[in-house]
């Protein structure tokens, strides 16, 4: 009997030893929260992980240097010319690009892809629609000249880089017209199929996708640029930070993407794991609703900017996941302002509040998403506000819930983050410093509108910067705009996000860009 037990035990052990398998040499496995993806169609993708997928599975007309964003370089468009009046752009299309389907990429595909964004009119359509394209005029404004030439006519003489940067975003991805149209149903331009399908020419092709479970990408054999180093990328949806960390420590995955500050800290001294950090375009800010009787007083807005413990938060709560930043254009953007005039100064804040006739403070609420680091930041802000007599009530809520309230302008203070939509400075100027109509039923609803900040003059300045065609002068205009904005706006901009990726020490060359649509797998080795 005893022998039998021993035998069984030994059998179990031997079985267990082979139960462990680490990822094969040519495959990268990463844990990544991908439940934000609602579509795989580049004309609809607008979420972080979706944008990263598009960056690796599709080619875009134009690319930019992830380390020096002001350097634009050719993607599918090999060269381009802009007419003297600034209205016509002619792109020469790269020859010899083959889609994963085997079809050859030509001007037809480019025209189709861009028109499709406008015709489908999904969330990211505005990035291109801003240039005056409508479903009625795309036939005339976006046209094919010959098989490898595309002409685009815009409605105003914008700063030339504006269109180019917009074409570097996901909306500028080129889809395989033949493949997509083969799956068209009831005139949907293949949308029903491409939402979960694939028709691209990027370094990696889609192999499997199960929403909120797994995504597998295979190297594209036809890829025209540098061949991808790894054969396969497997992205596994894992929500829990601690589970991600455990899998990484055990070597079952090569990379963990969503670790919290606590988990990252415990990995700092692990020699088998390296942490790669990259400043992202996202900024953390407070939005002060100007419909609130206290928050609309200029001295109060100013005082609140002195009541944030920027340094303390950066060193403790954020611990390497964000860096101090106080202007609406993040570092890395053309025209970014890096001055940080505000720091925690309670006396100064008190004086300002006294001037506003609120020496005894006041009560105000703050809608806060149940999400780290926002919740911890909210607590810190609550304690520093209290030192000047301001009673801050934190209203916790789920993401969509606080957002619904914010969009309806029913908040007092909103703590949140904001990421740019494309790499041109106008993206954030438009959000933070542009509000052509402050009415409740306005058509254009920027962040400035959400906070009911009526700024006809600043709106004009933002528009002027958009039309300035001299790049150096344009950057100066944005610097001036931000300096003014920094002092008077109802936005307390505090930090810029840093993305931290924990990877096995043998994993190298994962290119992290300033945005999720510029994170590239192509050169990863292990």
């Amino acid at each position: 009997m005893k022998k039998l037990f021993l035998l069984a035990f030994a059998l179990c052990l031997s079985a267990v030893q082979t139960a462990q398998a680490s990822p094969p040499k040519d495959t990268l496995v990463m844990a990544f929260k991908i439940d934000d993806i609602i579509s795989l169609d580049p004309a609809e993708i607008f979420e972080l992980s979706g944008a990263e997928y598009a960056a690796n599975a599709y080619d875009r007309l134009i690319k930019y240097n992830v380390d020096h964003v002001s350097e634009i370089y050719p993607g599918i468009a090999q060269t381009w010319e802009i007419s003297d009046d600034g209205l016509t752009y002619v792109f020469k299309i790269r020859k010899g690009v083959i889609f994963a389907s085997g079809n050859t990429l030509s001007a037809d595909d480019v025209v189709f892809s861009l028109r499709r964004v406008i015709l489908l009119d999904k969330s990211p359509a505005f990035i291109l629609a801003r240039f005056g394209f409508t479903p009625d005029n795309v036939e005339k404004t976006i046209t094919k000249v010959d098989d490898y030439t595309v002409k685009i006519v815009v409605d105003k003489a914008y700063a030339p880089t504006f269109l180019l940067y917009c074409l570097t975003s996901t909306a500028g991805s080129v889809v395989d017209k033949k493949e997509v149209m083969a799956h068209e149903q009831d005139g949907d331009l293949g949308y029903g199929w491409l939402r979960t399908g694939y028709a691209g020419s990027g370094p990696y092709t889609l192999r499997t996708w199960k929403a909120s479970e797994i995504m597998m990408l295979d190297a594209n054999k036809h890829y025209w640029g540098d061949a991808p180093k790894l054969k396969r990328i497997i992205i596994r949806h894992i929500t829990e930070s601690s589970s991600q960390r455990m899998l990484l420590e055990k070597g079952d995955i090569d990379m963990a993407r969503n670790l919290t500050a606590d988990d990252l800290k415990s990995l700092e001294n692990n020699t088998e794991i390296t942490l790669q950090k990259r400043a992202k375009g996202k900024v953390y800010y407070l939005g002060l609703n100007q419909k609130n009787q206290y928050l609309k007083i200029p001295e109060v807005r100013q005082a609140l900017k002195y009541l944030i413990d920027y340094k303390g938060m950066e060193q403790t709560i954020l611990n390497g996941q964000a860096t101090l930043h106080q202007a609406f254009l993040p570092k890395g953007f053309p025209g970014a302002l890096e001055e940080t005039p505000f720091s925690l100064d309670i006396e100064k804040a008190k004086t300002l509040l006294k001037k506003a006739g609120l020496g005894n403070g006041f009560s105000v609420t703050m809608d806060t998403r149940n999400f780290e680091p926002l919740t911890s930041m909210a607590l810190s802000i609550q304690s520093t506000f209290a030192k000047a007599g301001i009673k801050l009530e934190i209203i916790p809520g789920d993401g969509k819930q606080t957002l619904t309230k914010y969009r309806a302008r029913r908040h007092d203070i909103y703590i949140g983050d904001w990421g740019p939509d494309y790499m041109d400075p106008h993206t954030n100027a438009n959000a933070f410093a542009h509000n052509p109509d402050n009415a409740d039923d306005a058509k254009s609803r920027s962040l400035a509108w959400r906070n009911a900040w009526d700024i006809p003059e600043m709106t004009q300045k933002a528009d002027a910067a958009l039309l300035e065609r001299d790049t150096a002068r344009r950057a100066r205009m944005y610097l001036d705009l931000q300096r003014e904005h920094q002092q008077c706006s109802p936005f307390v901009i505090m930090f810029q996000k840093i993305e931290v990726v924990a990877e096995k020490a043998n994993v190298n060359h994962f290119i992290l860009g300033p945005n999720f649509d510029s994170n590239f797998y192509q050169y990863i080795t292990k």
């Binding site: 139960a19 455990m246 079952d252 969509k400």
Partner: protein, 338 residues
């Protein structure tokens, strides 16, 4: 057939449909009354007003509430639960896809719970106030009061991270994913059918920890229930009679007493099984187990209302079904109910 015999199914049917309708109405109202804008789930935060408006109309949210409900009910009655925003699939397809994972886990857990819980309960009833009884009580209390996600994390930390005995989160190792074509949806069965023994073994290993945890939880509850049922039965006069007649003690306990506990126990087991089927939300999250619970959580967090409503209907149906089933068993096993 007599009138009486006809009446019974009709009564059950009426009861079922009213419960169902009530369930639908309440979930629907909660879904519409919560201060969350479901259009945001479709178009995101940054869509232009006209895109937003188009999506709102497409979702039928511009109609009066009663009309929306009416449309929803008539769709559900024809088997159309709508499309999930998150996966772009019909909700019913999604549920059919994720449900087997939960079912597989629930069956394994229930088997573990029954096999361990009932004998433990019987032992502690027979050896009342003995050392064994106290130990069982402590084990039971632990299982019943410790939060399951904590136990899950500790289990992973211990058996996976430290001891290397069991695999980490997930239903199978990531490179085995998507190799076996689903037939039953049970990964263990499917891999057996496909003859993929490596995957079968891997899937079983992955099942051990989450199933044991859930099994421990149901064991804790079952052993307590069994104990009290048994104590009650053992105090009855027929037990004394049997003993006096010289029936062997094991037969008295396992035959006479347990036989009479069977009916209430079945109800307890069935309801526990029902609870496991609705998706053990926390366990599935910790173990990245792609079942109904994880699907429901993801949908909830993303304001994917069609999916949430669809899951609610399924969970409601399961509970009603399990209740009916245990009623039915009662009828068969209890001579008085015949």
């Amino acid at each position: 057939m007599t009138k009486q015999a006809l009446k019974q199914p009709v009564r059950i049917l009426v009861m079922l449909s009213t419960t169902f309708l009530g369930l639908l109405l309440i979930t629907f109202l909660i879904g519409r009354v919560v201060p969350i804008d479901p259009v945001l789930a479709v178009v995101g935060d940054k869509a232009l007003p006209q895109v937003y408006e188009k999506a709102r109309i497409a979702m039928g949210l511009d109609l009066p509430l009663w009309k929306q409900f009416f449309i929803y009910i008539s769709n559900v009655l024809t088997g159309d639960f709508g499309t999930s925003v998150l996966t772009a699939n019909p909700v019913i397809d999604d549920i059919l896809r994720v449900f087997p994972a939960t079912f597989e886990l629930a069956i394994t857990a229930t088997v573990i719970g029954v096999l361990a819980g009932i004998p433990l309960g019987i032992f502690s009833a027979v050896k009342r106030d003995s050392f064994l009884d106290h130990v069982t009580r402590v084990i039971g209390l632990f299982g019943y009061s410790l939060p399951i996600f904590w136990l899950g994390l500790m289990g992973l930390m211990f058996f996976y991270a430290r001891l290397d005995l069991l695999p980490g989160p997930g239903r199978v190792d990531v490179f085995y994913e998507g190799i076996v074509t689903p037939v039953t949806g049970f990964l263990t069965l499917d891999s057996m059918i496909a003859g993929e023994w490596e995957i079968f073994r891997n899937a079983v290993y992955h099942l051990i920890l989450p199933a044991s945890l859930l099994g421990y939880y149901s064991m804790a509850y079952l052993s307590r229930m069994t104990r009290s049922f048994m104590i009650e039965q053992l105090g009855q006069e027929y037990i004394l009679t049997a003993r006096v007649k010289g029936v062997k003690e094991w037969k008295v306990i396992w035959g006479h007493a347990l036989g009479n506990c069977a009916i209430p126990l079945i109800t307890v087991i069935a309801l526990g099984f029902g609870t496991l089927l609705e998706g053990s939300v926390l366990t599935e999250t910790v173990f990245a187990w792609p079942g109904l619970g994880l699907y429901l959580t993801n949908s909830l967090l993303n304001a994917d209302m069609n999916a949430v409503l669809g899951c609610t209907i399924v969970v409601g149906a399961i509970f009603l079904g399990v209740n009916l089933f245990s009623d039915f068993l009662y009828k068969i096993m209890d001579p008085r109910a015949r």
